[in-house]
Structure formats: structure tokens, C-alpha cells
């Protein structure tokens, strides 16, 4: 029975008169804020306009606007099924081989070789789980024995909306550092370096390794070097969130350049990795947290503490998704196929950016839309105001978040002209 029909059936039953001696203990629970992104999806689903476009979605879509299961994943699934593996518990820290491969994907052969045995790491519930574990580790063990206040985590302004709740719930204080300049729709590197310099020594600095969410604005290699310097000078601890490795350039190694630069500069990096987007395994929750340490002993100690945090949270992580990633990375043919498919996804996004910008130019828009092609990854910070976003929704059934963030994955070669026209119309007189 579908949920809807079950609910309908339940509502026709006469509610039992309930005489409860005590008032409900839940009566004082406050209503929480609406989830902004979910609200968009609900409104989009209810919209009957056949030309409607959903630009709020945070998952890749193909040129027909449909979800994609990578061919490499399908084959991996088939291979894994052939083996008839059991469903036993993973260790608390997850699959060791997966974790090794995840760190290797991020850092590459040379750095792995140089820092062999000095990584503490565990499999996590995707990127969210990795960030949460990082926050919990920081709260309990950063400057263990010396710190009397909560650790301070600095987030770029803006950042993924969920970062603040994750680190706050983990027991950290959260503040921001300057990052995006709305006037230029690009990185304000001077303000960024300045605010990192002004922050208390030893702060934790969260950095988006590539394809910044929500702006799509990434530092250049030179800018990364400057950021690395100030982080080192201030004794800050870099925490990289890498959820889109592969989505910026199409190449996994190129997109990890920032993390590798920091490693070569000698930073001890905390790295949260998600495999939701680059393997298309969103709902399977595949991720990894790694911590660079100075010695095997330190790595062992941190690993033991990470397990103590994980066990009362979920005991051990889910198995299905990591088996697929391992299968793909262990098989040359599948790995090549996956890398090609990753390139394909990144290229489609890039071509949608070009098409959208070109359409707007062709329509005669007086505004500069170059930032659409200069920004990277899944998202584009359009620069549209809240009012313009509302107009897009009401007049054209085009849905995006109030901050003007467009998910390029929702753009197709078929809807680009309509979308460009809609944007042009709402910005004409701006």
C-alpha cells in the first residue's frame, strides 16, 4: 500500500478519545526552521507549468534532466553481486581498504608514500559524517589537556548551509572568514587573507578543496599558496571539505591540487571526503575522514579515539556503497571507465555554463555574465537578488535558492534558451 493511501485510510478511523493523566512532554518542542532547499523541491513538484526548471537540486542530472547511475557503478554492482558476499558488520572504522583508496585518491602516490602510516582515518557517512566526526574529534582532543574553550572553526562566507549546524552540534564554536565578493562575483583574496590573519592563532580553517559550494568560486594556485602561508603563519589547522573532486576540471588529480599543495607545504590536514557526487552514490553515504599526524603512535591514538566517537553514534558504517567504490578502484578497466564518466559529467556542466552565458549575451543582456563560466563545479552564484529569484519562480516556474545559487546540473541543452530568457527578463531593468 502506498504511503498516501495508508494515511488516507488512517484518517478515516475515528480517533480514540485519549485520557492521558499528564500533559505531553513534547508539547514545548519548538518548531524548527524550514529546510530552504527542500521547500524549493516541494514547490517545484507541485508546479504544473510544463516548462518548469528545478535549479535547487544538489545531485547531478543528465542532459534529459534525469538522475544518473554511472555505468562503472552498474558494472561494479553486478560484479559484487556475483561474488555472493555476506552482509556482516564492518569494523567500527569501516573498510580499511576503502579508506586507503580514498586517501590515495585525494593525495596521490607520492604524498602517500612520504606519509605512509601517519594517517589516522575512518570510513564515514559521506561528507556530512566526515565533517561531524572531524568536529567531534576537535571538540574532544584538539590541544588535549590545554584548551578550556570550544575549538573555533572558521567557515568561508558563504559556505554550505549545513556546515554550521554540523560543527555546532559537534561542540565547536563557528565563525566565518571573508571569501566571496558579491560585487565581483569572485574571490576577495585580500579580505580572505586579512580575516584569516585577524583570526585567533590556531583556529580551524575549513576550506572547500574545489568547486566551492554555493559560489563555485575557487582560489587560483597562487591564491591557494597565499592562503597556505597565512594558515601556516597563524598556526591554523586546515580542514578540507572535498565533496566535488572531479567536478571542477573533470580530472581527479587536478581537482586535488589544493590539498596536495597544503600537504607539500607541511600542513597537518584534516580531510573530509564525500563520494556522493563523483561516484553518483548519494544515498549510499560513502565518505572518509583522514587526519595527518606526525607519527604512527599519534595516528594509532587518534584512530582509537575516532572509534570511541563512532561506536555510540552508529556502531559501524554502511557496507553497500564502499564495496562499489572499492570494486571500481581495484579494477583497472572500471576505474578508467569511471574517470571517463567523471570527465563527461564535468564537461556537460561546463558546456551548460558556456551555453547559458552565450544565450544571455545573445539576448542582449546589459549585465556581465562571465562569472557563470569562471565559477566551477556544480553550482553558480548567479548574483540574482532575492526579489529576482522570486520573480523567476512566480513568472517562469524556475526554482533556485533565495541566495541566487543555481545548480548547473538542472540545466539542459533543451531548457537553456528558456532559462536564459527568464533570467534576462527579471534582470532587464536591474
Amino acid at each position: 500500500m502506498s504511503r498516501l493511501s495508508l494515511l488516507r485510510r488512517l484518517s478515516t478511523l475515528a480517533p480514540q478519545a485519549l485520557k492521558h493523566p499528564h500533559p505531553s512532554r513534547f508539547a514545548a518542542t519548538p518548531r524548527g526552521p524550514e529546510d530552504a532547499i527542500l521547500g524549493i523541491t516541494v514547490a517545484y513538484n507541485n508546479d504544473t507549468n510544463p516548462k518548469k526548471i528545478n535549479l535547487g537540486v544538489g545531485a547531478y542530472r543528465d542532459d534529459a534532466g534525469l538522475p544518473v547511475v554511472l555505468e562503472a557503478v552498474r558494472q561494479a554492482e553486478h560484479n559484487v553481486l556475483q561474488r555472493g558476499l555476506d552482509m556482516e558488520y564492518l569494523p567500527v572504522a569501516g573498510s580499511h581498504t576503502f579508506v586507503q583508496r580514498a586517501i590515495w585518491l585525494a593525495y596521490g602516490d607520492r604524498i602517500i608514500h612520504e606519509r605512509h602510516n601517519r594517517f589516522a582515518a575512518l570510513q564515514t557517512l559521506s561528507g556530512t559524517g566526515a565533517c561531524r566526526m572531524a568536529g567531534e574529534l576537535l571538540t574532544r582532543f584538539l590541544d588535549y589537556g590545554q584548551r578550556t574553550t570550544k575549538p573555533l572553526v572558521l567557515l568561508p562566507n558563504p559556505s554550505w548551509a549545513n556546515h554550521k549546524p554540523i560543527f555546532t552540534d559537534a561542540g565547536c564554536d563557528v565563525a566565518s572568514y571573508a571569501y566571496y565578493n558579491p560585487a565581483t562575483r569572485a574571490l576577495d583574496i585580500d579580505a580572505c587573507l586579512s580575516s584569516l590573519h585577524d583570526a585567533p592563532n590556531g583556529s580551524v580553517v575549513l576550506l572547500h578543496a574545489c568547486a566551492h559550494n554555493p559560489t563555485g568560486v575557487d582560489p587560483t594556485p597562487e591564491q591557494w599558496a597565499a592562503i597556505s602561508n597565512v594558515v601556516m603563519d597563524k598556526g591554523h589547522l586546515p580542514l578540507f571539505d572535498m565533496a566535488y573532486q572531479g567536478f571542477t576540471s573533470g580530472d581527479m588529480d587536478v581537482d586535488a591540487a589544493s590539498v596536495r599543495l597544503f600537504a607539500d607545504d607541511g600542513h597537518r590536514i584534516l580531510l573530509a571526503q564525500s563520494f556522493s557526487k563523483n561516484f553518483g552514490l548519494y544515498g549510499q553515504r560513502v565518505g572518509c575522514l583522514s587526519v595527518m599526524t606526525d607519527s604512527q603512535n599519534e595516528a594509532d591514538a587518534i584512530n582509537s579515539q575516532l572509534k570511541i566517537i563512532a561506536r555510540p553514534m552508529y556502531s559501524n558504517p554502511p557496507i553497500a556503497g564502499v564495496r562499489l567504490v572499492e570494486e571500481i578502484l581495484n579494477c583497472d578497466q572500471l576505474q578508467r571507465l569511471w574517470r571517463d564518466e567523471m570527465k563527461g559529467m564535468a564537461r556537460r556542466i561546463m558546456s551548460m555554463r558556456s551555453m547559458l552565458r552565450d544565450e544571455l549575451v545573445q539576448l542582449g543582456s546589459q549585465h556581465n555574465w562571465d562569472h557563470i563560466v569562471h565559477q566551477h563545479g556544480m553550482f553558480c552564484f548567479s548574483g540574482l537578488t532575492e526579489h529576482q529569484v522570486q520573480q523567476l519562480r512566480e513568472r517562469f516556474s524556475v526554482y533556485l535558492t533565495a541566495n541566487g545559487r543555481i545548480s548547473m546540473a538542472g540545466v539542459t541543452s533543451e531548457n537553456v534558451p528558456y532559462l536564459a530568457n527568464a533570467i534576462h527578463e527579471v534582470t532587464r531593468n536591474a
Binding site: F26, M87, G321
Partner: protein, 410 residues
């Protein structure tokens, strides 16, 4: 290069249960037997994937209309609706009144954690009482979720190897009103000793009078007696009485989906008016922990629970697994009696579920491990699922030797 910020981190003590498996794996003895972790094993000592589970896994892999998209924060609706119905039954008053909030969780542990995090955030710093003894992770989940360390209530009478009902009731009566009390719905872990139905009714009475809030942990529904409704009886008794409570469900054992992390948290409210708010706040807590739960196992579980034919297959497999466990209990008891092992071993067949509290002490446990390479937790708990026809005599020999060699109070 400045000093690492983590250089002073101390090494944590190893987990008592999981370190057994690690030690077992490292043991080269061909006679070794693992009676540690609570995962079902066939009579060949092998892990078991339920045929109905494997069938759906294959079916879904071949269905190319399916994808791996994100689930909502509260999980797969198809799963949560059926999970609640499985737990509370078709005639459930709170379900029929729309007073139950159900969210998908990371197996039983995840359900407990989100439930206690909700309590810590919205219901104040309440005390949490756990049975003595209880699953060791209960005592970690509660403080990690932000509540004070747990207190215990008397539960197990070592003399009778059964529930100490008088001690239990007295301790609950003396508990701070409004406190949370963890109950094992069936197949108590680690003792295997469950209250009788009469005793559950007495417990409910005291819970109501003392204004306590039950948190039922159901990790073995269907696995304990072989019957899903029988094993849900205690939870349903409480839920239908009108009180507010929390209920954690795990599908690790009863569907054999251990590593898939399939579970649910149910919150039973006294009125439906808070349902949306409570659900919204649970989702927010989930969002900041792991965003959304894993898809693979939930999809399979939902399919099994919603298809009549598959459901019956599942019920058959549950009976098979629980019968093998019961058979091993009988065999072990009979072997111990035949060996002339000192003491009364009837508790082994009276206890229910995956585990038996043998009554062995830590020194006896260590003796068995080093001489016989038989592994169990230091509190003398054995996982019956780890016994097979081929090993039961050997284990009986080991226990007999330990009891004869080392005194009770050693």
C-alpha cells in the same frame, strides 16, 4: 614545524566486545571458536545472508529504473511506514491515531543516538536508567548524546539466572520521576533473561505511577521466539497503554543485514499535534550528523515487509534461525550435564535469544580462552549463534574444565 595539536591525545581503551573478534582473528589455533560478537552463524559456522534478502538485492540491481539518489533525512517512507506497523501491529492505538513519528536510523545504535540526542536537546537533562547488566554501548550512547551518565536498575538475579523482578520494581519506583528507562523488548542482551508477561504488566504499572519514559530497544524482534508478534508483545503493551515512549528498531539480526545499518526510531506521543514538530527536529538532528540514511538495506527491508509472499518467506527464515539457536541451547545444556559439570545449567535453555549469561567469571573466561581458544566476553556472555553441532561438545568441555579448575569466587 610547530607541534601537532593532537600530539597529546591518549590512546583509548579497546572496545570490550569488538576486541574479542580481533583477538579471535589473530589466533592461529585450528580449534578456535568465537562466541563473542552477536551475529548469526549457520551450523557450518558461516555468516548467513537470508535468501529473501539476497533475492531482492539481485532484483534491485537488475532494475535499471532505480538509482542511488539521496533519501530524505527521515529515510525511505516506504520503509518507515512498514517498520512502524511491524513494531506496533495492525491494531495499534497510537499508530491508528497518527501519534507515532518514525524515522529511519543507522540500525539500533543510530536509533538510540538520535532518540537520546532529541531528549538531551528538547526534554532537558533527564536521567537515563539501564538494566544491570545491559549492552555495553547503551552506557556510551547516552553521555555522547549529551545526557548525564546512566544509572542502573536491578535486573538480573545471578542466583536464579532470571529477572530479579522485585529489585527491578523497587528501583523503578525509586527512580527520579520523568527519567528515561531503557527496556530490552525481548531477548535481553547480555543475559537472555526476559520478564514474563505478568512481570511486564507489573513493570508498566510502576512506569505509569512513577511517570517514567520508556525507551524500548528492539534488536531481536522475530529472532527471539521465531514469531514477530510474540516478540513485540512487551513494546505493544506499553504503546497501547497511552504513555509516551521511544522505540528503537534494528534489522541487523532479524533480516541479517548487519552491515547495511537498517533501523528505525519511533516516538510515541500522547497527541498527534506535535508529530510534525517532533519529526522536523529529528530531521534537523539527523541532518547535522549524517544528512540522510543509507538506501540499500532500507529498500530491501521495505520490499520484504510490504510483499505478502516475501513477508512469509522472511517469517520462515526467522523461525529457522531461532530454532537453530534453541537447539544449540539444548545441546549445550545436555553436554554440560553429560560432562558432569558442577552447577545447574538449566538457565541456558530458559534464556532466550542470541546470548546466554553462562555465569562464568572473568578468570574462568580467560582460562577458556588461553587453554581452549574459545572466545567470549569477560562477563561470561556467549553468543549461541557461534555454536555449531561440531563445536558444542568442545565448548561444553571447556566450560566444564573451567568451572572445575577455578572456583566461583576466583
Amino acid at each position: 614545524m610547530p607541534h601537532s595539536l593532537f600530539s597529546a591525545v591518549p590512546a583509548a581503551p579497546p572496545d570490550p566486545i569488538l576486541s574479542i573478534t580481533a583477538a579471535f582473528r589473530a589466533d592461529p589455533s585450528p580449534k578456535k571458536v568465537n562466541l563473542g560478537v552477536g551475529a548469526y552463524r549457520t551450523d557450518d559456522g558461516l555468516p548467513y545472508v537470508l535468501p529473501i534478502v539476497r533475492q531482492y538485492e539481485r532484483h534491485f540491481a537488475n532494475d535499471h529504473s532505480l538509482n542511488h539518489e539521496y533519501l530524505p533525512q527521515d529515510g525511505l517512507t516506504h520503509f518507515t511506514v512498514h517498520s512502524a506497523r511491524l513494531m506496533f501491529g495492525k491494531h495499534s492505538a497510537p499508530l491508528n491515531d497518527n501519534r507515532v513519528v518514525t524515522v529511519q536510523a543507522l540500525s539500533g545504535t543510530g536509533a538510540l543516538r538520535i532518540g537520546f540526542a532529541f531528549i538531551a536537546t528538547f526534554l532537558g537533562q533527564r536521567l537515563v536508567y539501564v538494566p544491570n547488566p545491559t549492552w555495553s554501548n547503551h552506557r556510551n550512547v547516552v553521555p555522547h548524546a549529551g545526557l548525564p551518565p546512566t544509572r542502573t536498575y536491578r535486573y538480573f538475579d545471578a542466583a536464579t539466572c532470571a529477572v530479579d523482578i522485585d529489585g527491578l520494581l523497587a528501583d523503578l519506583k525509586a527512580a527520579v520521576p520523568g527519567s528515561i528507562v531503557i527496556f530490552h523488548g525481548c531477548a535481553h542482551n547480555p543475559t537472555g533473561a526476559d520478564p514474563s508477561r505478568e512481570q511486564w504488566k507489573q513493570i508498566l504499572q510502576v512506569v505509569k505511577e512513577a511517570a517514567l519514559v520508556p525507551f524500548f530497544d528492539n534488536a531481536y524482534q522475530g529472532f527471539a521466539s521465531g514469531d514477530l508478534d510474540t516478540d513485540a508483545w512487551s513494546t505493544r503493551l506499553f504503546a497501547d497503554s497511552g504513555i509516551e515512549m521511544f522505540v528503537a528498531q534494528s534489522y541487523a539480526k532479524n533480516m541479517g543485514m548487519y552491515g547495511e545499518r537498517v533501523g528505525a526510531l519511533n516516538v510515541v506521543l500522547s497527541s498527534s499535534s506535535s508529530v510534525d514538530i517532533v519529526r522536523g527536529q529529528l530531521k534537523r538532528l539527523i541532518r547535522a550528523t549524517y544528512s540522510s540514511p543509507p538506501l540499500h538495506g532500507a529498500r530491501i527491508a521495505a520490499a520484504i515487509m510490504s510483499d505478502e509472499h516475501a513477508f512469509r518467506s522472511w517469517q520462515t527464515e526467522l523461525r529457522t534461525m531461532s530454532e537453530r539457536i534453541r537447539n544449540m541451547r539444548t545441546r549445550l545444556r545436555d553436554c554440560l550435564v553429560a560432562n558432569g559439570a558442577p552447577g545447574n545449567w538449566d538457565h541456558i535453555v530458559k534464556q532466550i535469544g542470541m546470548f546466554s549469561f553462562t555465569g562464568l567469571n572473568a578468570e574462568q573466561v580467560r582460562f577458556i580462552r588461553s587453554k581452549y581458544h574459545v572466545y567470549m566476553t569477560l562477563n561470561g556472555r556467549i553468543s549461541m549463534a557461534g555454536l555449531t553441532e561440531a563445536t558444542v561438545q568442545y565448548v561444553a568441555d571447556a566450560i566444564c574444565d573451567a568451572v572445575k579448575s577455578i572456583g566461583r569466587d576466583a
